[in-house]
């Protein structure tokens, strides 16, 4: 049975698109067929993170306005052949797609693919309402910072009002050193505040930036802590019971090396 998942956050820049790309690639690595839909109209980004920016012919608005069948707009991933991207329009604005159109499209996609994952724009305006309309489940991405957690709470409230009750949480950009010294909220703090089931704890990791530079999501890369965290998230989405990992903290030696720039 296929599932439509929306990745949302409220506050911008917390890692929705990064999460979408990694979950998409991770599910494809596990043999699932996946369509990623970028609904951040006017701010196209998911194509870049997947390394597909040069292969786009048509976009979501071409499909929802009925100019072309969706199959023609899907961009197949080079390496993971069961992964497809439906890119957003870079010229239209957020009102170019409405909730009803996305529901119709996702109902079509459900017949052919195991997972449809929707990358949502920041905010709670029309673009958000459109992005969540077709979803069976929502993943809220946040960071361990006051403003990001507050906005996550707001989004969880909005999802509830829209009768989207299957909600889980990913906490991104955790800095274990700061958590250890008490200068960053830890998971139990965020659990107490938001009371939503957590399916991922992703550390702040420089390799997220280098992998974005290359257009190659790092899910499953054993050298990256974030890569391992994303692989665990994918397992949990597939229903596996995976314990949360302990983050390696940078030892004194590594911090010293960094401080000295060697």
């Amino acid at each position: 049975m296929s599932e439509v998942i929306v990745i949302t956050s409220g506050k911008g820049g917390v890692g929705k698109t990064t999460t979408t790309a990694n979950i998409g690639v991770g599910l494809a690595q596990r043999g699932k067929s996946v369509v990623l839909i970028d609904t951040d109209t006017g701010l196209r980004n998911l194509d870049l993170l997947l390394g597909l920016e040069n292969r786009i012919m048509y976009d979501l608005v071409d499909v929802t306005e009925g100019r072309i069948p969706y199959k023609k707009a899907l961009v197949r991933h080079k390496k993971y052949e069961s992964l497809f991207l439906l890119p957003t329009s870079q010229i239209k604005d957020k009102s170019a797609v409405n909730p009803a159109q996305l529901i119709v499209l996702c109902d079509e996609l459900r017949k052919e693919y195991d997972y449809v994952i929707i990358d949502c724009p920041a905010g709670i305006e029309q673009g958000f309402k459109t992005a969540i309309a077709a979803a069976d489940r929502a993943i809220v991405v946040t960071m361990p910072e006051v403003s990001a957690v507050r906005d996550a709470d707001k989004i969880i409230g909005e999802l509830g009002r829209a009768e989207k009750d299957n909600i889980s949480l990913i906490v991104n950009r955790i800095r274990p050193q700061m958590v250890e010294s008490g200068d960053m909220m830890d998971m139990s703090d965020i659990d107490d505040i938001l009371a939503v089931k957590c399916i991922g704890q992703v550390p702040d990791d420089e390799m997220v930036v280098t992998s974005a530079n290359r257009g190659e999501p790092l899910v499953g890369n054993p050298k990256s802590q974030a890569g391992r965290a994303y692989a665990n998230i994918v397992g949990r989405i597939l229903g596996e019971d995976i314990p949360f990992m302990e983050f390696e903290k940078e030892g004194l030696f590594k911090r010293l090396k960094k401080a000295l720039g060697i």
């Binding site: 006051v146 957690v149 709470d153 909220m185 703090d189 505040i193």
Partner: protein, 85 residues
Amino acid sequence: MLDSLLKIFSKEKSGKVAKRRLQMVLIQDRASVSPEMMNQLRDDIIQVISKYMVINQSDMEITLENVDDSVALVANIPVQNMKHH
């Protein structure tokens, strides 16, 4: 050693401060209702109370207030007279 001594004398850690502040602000966020809904509520209250009492509608006040760590609906409704059936 020095580190742990410093810890004893330092202020509350910012992670805990963040949690405490968030818990307070979210009570307000979650309770916030639209002005339309407050007006609707006000009209409904007037209707119910008017079955039993004559009230001064223009002086009545209805607000949501934070009391400790919960939210209270506070209504101040001047009664002019009782209705006798």
